[in-house]
Symmetry: C2
Subunit: 428 residues, 2 copies
């Protein structure tokens, strides 16, 4: 028998949940601050939902299977097809703009590497029904907000932004036929990972026409939008990018954003602005990525609907937080631990119940021991206050309490012990 979790998956013991909940809470808070609503979809979908979008070769990366009724299903490798399906199903009855988010568990049968697991979480945010670049800016600002909430700033990460249209327009204008574009997108993806000379060689050896290779390399030397303007001032994608950056300035997040022509996003379905989030040193995989996908809802039988979305995984993000030491502290497990001096478990239970009814998180020793042992259990359970019942203070109408952090002890009136505890807990 194999008692380990399956390869590529994780057990989350309570101590592992602290970072996970910290990330999820930050994500949820950002989504709420930006006015996004939560949705969810099944963990498995019909297999053709994925092959319809990405081709049958995607199946190699899927946890696909047949159910007992012969249905071809797959664990979800990404959330976008489910969103697109759900939006398409509602059609025009869904008020636009749709601003939705979800934190799904996703599954990909991939080679295990640093930053990559077979089961992982992803924050997904999408704005559907808005063709304007305001939506792209809104999403990029939301991406930044989620990272800032986790204690990361522009010294830690950057949003790399480009447009699929920019590249496409430029290539078309310089006479590079459309059928060669996909090959060029693949090349670009390799550029940040290679020495520049090696990359130049690769471009020359990949493109048939050497003049075109030089033209492409010329474009790729652009580091800013100003560089692009000098090379090709008439590209409509250039004004698109300029508009986007002006919005990002208005939103006060320009420091976090830079133009990066190498960003193309592998997937074929992106139609406009694309962006990826990297740690500043670029020592890790992309932390998040997204862009515009104006044709996807249609692909799933919906009416043509503009859309833009992004996804941020938990694995690389966790690595970055660990590296920076931006980890949350272990929270108290409960507020009050009730101890019985006389070992009267019913009395401890009754007081515990009254505190819990007042919504004060409380525990009692499930197994009765001497007071010293009970106090040790109270400490082990990481409570803030220990309350002693059955002590001699009760004769004068008091409970003895101990503030665990300081060791300080005092009496509180039995009559208003809930109020007295609440008041003390507020300051702990």
């Amino acid at each position: 028998m194999n008692y380990l979790p399956p390869k590529g998956t994780r057990d989350f013991y309570p101590e592992d949940m602290i970072l996970r909940e910290h990330i999820f809470t930050s994500w949820e808070q950002s989504c709420h601050t930006f006015g996004f609503e939560k949705y969810d979809a099944p963990v498995f979908e019909h297999l053709d939902l994925y092959t319809h979008k990405s081709g049958t070769e995607i199946e190699q990366q899927l946890y696909s299977f047949e159910d007992k009724g012969g249905r071809k299903l797959s664990l979800r490798p990404e959330m976008t097809p489910s969103v697109a399906r759900m939006v398409a199903a509602r059609g025009n009855s869904l008020a636009k703009p749709v601003k939705w988010y979800s934190i799904p568990k996703l599954f990909r049968y991939e080679k295990m590497q640093k930053g990559r697991l077979r089961e992982f979480f992803q924050l997904n945010m999408d704005i559907i029904g808005i063709a304007e670049l305001t939506a792209d800016a809104e999403l990029i600002a939301a991406t930044i907000d989620t990272m800032k909430r986790l204690g990361l700033d522009s010294q830690d990460f950057q949003i790399h932004i480009s447009s699929r249209n920019l590249l496409e327009e430029y290539l078309q204008n310089t006479g590079i036929p459309k059928k060669e574009h996909a090959e060029i997108y693949l090349l670009l993806d390799k550029m940040p990972k290679m020495a520049y000379n090696d990359f130049c060689e690769l471009v020359h050896s990949t493109l048939s026409n050497q003049e075109r290779a030089e033209t492409l390399l010329h474009l790729l030397s652009a580091k800013t939008l100003e560089d692009i303007e000098k090379m090709a001032p008439d590209l409509s994608a250039l004004s698109e990018l300029k508009e986007l950056f002006s919005y990002l300035s208005a939103m006060g997040v320009a420091d976090y954003c830079s133009f990066d022509i190498t960003i193309v996003r592998g997937l074929a379905y992106y139609t406009g602005i694309v962006f990826e989030v990297f740690d500043t040193r670029r020592s890790m995989r992309a932390i998040a990525g997204g862009g515009r996908y104006n044709r996807l809802i249609e692909l799933y039988g919906g009416t043509p609907t503009p859309a833009v979305g992004f996804a941020m995984g938990d694995v690389v993000l966790s690595d970055l937080l660990r590296e920076k030491g931006a980890l949350p502290t272990e929270p108290a497990k409960c507020d009050v631990f009730v101890i019985s001096v006389t070992k009267d478990i019913s009395a401890a239970m009754s007081i515990t119940a009254r505190l819990r009814n007042a919504r004060i998180s409380t525990e009692f020793p499930l197994k009765m021991n001497a007071v010293g042992k009970q106090l040790k259990k109270a400490a082990a359970s990481r409570c803030k206050i220990a309350l002693l019942t059955g002590g001699e203070e009760e004769a004068s109408g008091n409970y003895r309490i101990k503030i665990m952090q300081t060791g300080e002890e005092e009496n509180i009136p039995m009559e208003q012990f809930k109020e007295a505890l609440s008041a003390r807990l507020e300051n702990l």
Copy 2:
């Protein structure tokens, strides 16, 4: 192409999330109040984790499959094997008592019926390492607390409690051989669903010995622990149950609890107290169920460790809340919606960003329109306050705001607009 969610699964549109989040939040709050810590495990496990506990016939109900590496896996049909595996793996290094909870999505390939889906959620709470009945009482009290938080009371539901030992002892004492016990457990499960006379006939036709059938029926006529005491005062399981009920009284939840000899819980792994939660009219399936499983950790290679746990699904519970009309109201989607009188989108974006940085949930019209249309969008986005930028009030240093619920309008100072909005939001 099939654009529907797979059979037995659900899409959760934002309006469907309201009830789900309401339930989850109540669950989480109860767990926190009772001092339980959250854990999680993979969505799929090695298939033998389930067959090891429940036999190979369980596979018919599983979403089992082989991954690309030939591993035999299954989507999790329940959480207990994962908990047991995780606890067993840590052994004595895990401080006891373990008080853990989780809200997993689970998967069972079953016939679709009211209250039963193929993909559903379950609250799981377990106390591990405590042989005392205090742990059983603690868990039952926690079950009740989760229901009370959702607005349900003893008029709506009851906890039906029994002990597997009670039945086993009694059957053994009356000479019914152990190999017939399983058959009797199956019978008991049918008792509440049948007319009494039909049930008596079934007992007689099932048991070989008619005298034993009568003895069994005699026991099953017991409605209270007092009845049992009259029939068989010496059963050790009787004093166990009496102790449990005294704890439940100390915890102030006796009103919610009743002895019910028909509760056996189908699964073979229960070893002591068992309980199920039903709506008072018993018009629905069990809302929750649990009990003691002192031998399971051992089964997964751990040291012998006492344990007690329960699980509550979201499907029947949601039905009950709907039936009672105890549903949450739709929350506001955001606090503030920023409108631009001059249609200056950058100004609206900039103010939105400042409010968001102050952690005020804010939206702006992603698509600029006339003021009337923007106000309509503000209403559609269910915001609490609309703030107008670019109005003539700005000349005198003010923003105009509109309280959406009342239609009331007023000016607030531009200099301290965040503070002024926060103050008003506190009362909305």
